[in-house]
């Protein structure tokens, strides 16, 4: 029965159980939306990075400023002459509605690209350049119910499924890969590619990998004005789809968090109003304005923390469900990154404290005599 300051604050919060529970639901929904949406967009970014890393891509050569880039395929020999570059593989990436229900990423690769090294062909074989052939990730093959030898209609053309593959990257496991020339033809990008994926030669002794990569980036910028070579991590983060996903996730989350903040502000304002007389008693006992304000802020922060825990659990559950749905399984990992979890909890505390600050200030301004007279 020892009373602590924080224990006292928590006791006050828990007095109105129903109201507190409803407020926690509101905060939980807001933080849950934040965790699920931001977690989703970060999973998406992580999947891109994983794809580059698994394939051994060190750099991507893209246009300097455009996010949705288009690069002449004819620069391939220029890239190959740069001393740091071992392989420069042209590629196209796009999204396609394979059926009205299933949208998928489609990659255009050359048959001899190093990027196949990250794939494990489960059935069939690799496609041949110049042929109307495709390979399907196992997730997509499963959801479309396609096997090797079946055909698939893409943009009015009939393509034969020649291989089913497994990939560590969710972005490939649910994707279509087809010959680069076929992809150029289908998407009207004759002679153009989205990017060149670069594998660097090993750094010579005395040069660190970072220095070696920087030299390659400088060489590309100097040989090809208007283009730049970006590290795989940056390419993953600045991918147009990733940027859109981040923007949508943060925008939606902020609205949800605003609603949660209003919930806390309302609860705390009601709580301060109802406890006006008690605040007067505390002031009469010698509690300073600052201590009263701290108490109310701790109560608001406690609501935030508890709501944050509920929200993280809800968000984690939502990510699990998204990771199981065929439409999203290919790009969502059920693993909740620690950073997202911490962001969610910190966000919850900040929302709690911010929302509680005005009621706390108002509570602290009460004169003891006036507060004690309050009915």
């Amino acid at each position: 029965m020892r009373l602590s300051f924080v224990g006292f604050a928590w006791r006050n919060v828990w007095r109105r159980r129903l109201r507190t529970a409803l407020t926690l639901c509101g905060i939980g929904m807001g933080i849950g939306a934040f965790v699920a949406l931001v977690g989703f967009s970060r999973s998406f970014e992580h999947a891109w990075l994983e794809m580059y890393e698994n394939a051994g891509t060190d750099l991507a050569v893209v246009q300097k400023t455009f996010l949705n880039t288009s690069v002449d395929q004819s620069i391939a020999p220029v890239l190959q002459r740069i001393p740091q570059i071992a392989i420069a593989a042209p590629m196209i990436i796009n999204m396609m509605a394979v059926t009205p229900e299933v949208n998928t990423l489609v990659y255009g690769w050359q048959a001899n690209t190093f990027e196949f090294s990250a794939l494990n062909i489960l059935q069939g074989r690799r496609f041949r350049d110049g042929q109307q052939e495709v390979m399907l990730g196992e997730l997509l093959a499963g959801s479309l119910n396609k096997k090797v030898g079946d055909t698939i209609d893409l943009q009015g053309g009939s393509f034969t499924v020649v291989g089913i593959f497994r990939s560590g990257s969710a972005l490939e496991a649910g994707a279509i890969i087809m010959p680069l020339d076929q992809m150029q033809s289908l998407s009207g990008m004759s002679g153009k590619v989205t990017a060149f994926h670069i594998q660097l030669k090993p750094a010579p002794s005395g040069v660190s990998p970072d220095q070696w990569r920087q030299q390659a980036e400088d060489a590309v910028a100097s040989a090809l004005p208007g283009l730049r070579a970006v590290p795989a991590a940056e390419r993953a983060a600045n991918n147009q789809l990733v940027i859109l996903a981040h923007a949508a996730a943060w925008g939606t989350s902020l609205i949800a968090l605003l609603v949660a903040a209003l919930g806390i502000a309302n609860t705390m304002a009601m709580s301060v109003f109802e406890r006006t007389k008690e605040i007067g008693v505390l002031r009469a006992m010698g509690w300073s304005r600052r201590r009263v304000m701290t108490l109310i802020l701790i109560e608001a922060a406690a609501l935030g923390v508890a709501g944050g825990v509920v929200g993280v659990a809800l968000g984690w559950g939502a990510l699990h469900i998204l990771a199981m749905l065929p439409q999203t399984a290919s790009i969502v990992s059920s693993t909740l990154p620690l950073r997202t979890l911490l962001d969610g909890l910190v966000m919850a505390i900040l929302v709690g404290v911010a929302a509680g600050s005005i009621p706390a200030w108002r509570g602290a301004q009460l004169s003891p005599v006036e507060a004690l007279r309050h009915e």
Binding site: M1, R2, L3, S4, F5, F8, R11, N12, R15, K277, E278, G280, V281, L282, R283, A284, M285, G286, W287, S288, R289, R291, S367, P368, V369, L372
Partner: protein, 235 residues
């Protein structure tokens, strides 16, 4: 601040000097110049009809409010507002360390049990949690509530609630105990017990006791009696 000194301005423990208190920009005058000296260990009763200003005077003496004009001096130091270059005691510190309040309606916190209620004034004073609990327990035992420590206010009788409130007022060892109609919500039996208790505390702890009451019989138990009317002392 450099010209401020700490030379005591009064030989009393607590002194009111020409206290005036008005509300609504002077439209209502609750106190119209009250001067009063209270020595250490004194037991003073303040009586008067409703609206006479007795509670307002108690609030100013206890640092619950500041006077519109005039000064309250505690051990020769002004409370809340510095005066004649003498630094003031912070009003929150004064209430926390030197003044203890007992209210007619007890004002216990409903979310806390008896033992926890008594610890509230000690929260944030830098005392250890264990010391807080021991001090609160000792006071409640002294006031005969050893079997009611874990009861919440709504589980206590009115007399028990007032005893918990008295324990709470004493927990920081105040020099002055200010009681505003402490028996106003009690039956005659419990009133007598509480008054006896307050007298015992006043003697045992040497605490200065200032009690506001409208009951002249209760006032008669005090060492000194001040009657008020229309915001002034009238005896």
């Amino acid at each position: 601040m450099s010209d401020q000194t700490t030379t005591p301005l009064s030989e009393f423990l607590l002194e009111a000097r020409d206290l005036k208190k008005s509300y609504d920009n002077g439209a209502i005058e609750a106190l119209r110049g009250v001067s009063l000296g209270i020595a250490a260990g004194d037991f003073l009763a303040i009586t008067g009809p409703s609206g006479s200003g007795k509670s307002t005077l108690l609030h100013l003496l206890g640092g619950l409010d500041l006077a519109t004009e005039g000064t309250v001096l505690f051990r020769g130091q002004p409370v809340g507002k510095s005066q004649n270059g003498v630094a003031a005691i912070d009003i929150d510190t004064y209430r926390a360390r030197w003044a203890g309040f007992i209210f007619q309606s007890f004002h216990l916190l409903p979310a806390l049990n008896a033992l926890e209620n008594v610890q509230v004034p000690m929260l944030g004073t830098g005392s250890h949690r264990r010391d807080r609990e021991e001090r609160a327990r000792a006071l409640l035992v002294e006031l005969g509530l050893e079997n009611r420590l874990s009861q919440y206010p709504n589980q206590l009788s009115a007399g028990e609630r007032q005893r918990v409130a008295i324990a709470r007022s004493l927990v920081n060892n105040p020099a002055v105990l200010l009681a505003d109609e402490p028996t106003g919500n009690l039956d005659s039996v419990n009133s007598a017990k509480i008054l006896e208790l307050l007298a015992q505390i006043q003697e045992r702890h040497g605490t200065t006791l200032i009690m506001v009451t409208h009951d002249l019989n209760i006032a008669a138990t005090a060492h000194r009696h001040v009657a008020m009317r229309d915001g002034r002392i009238c005896n």
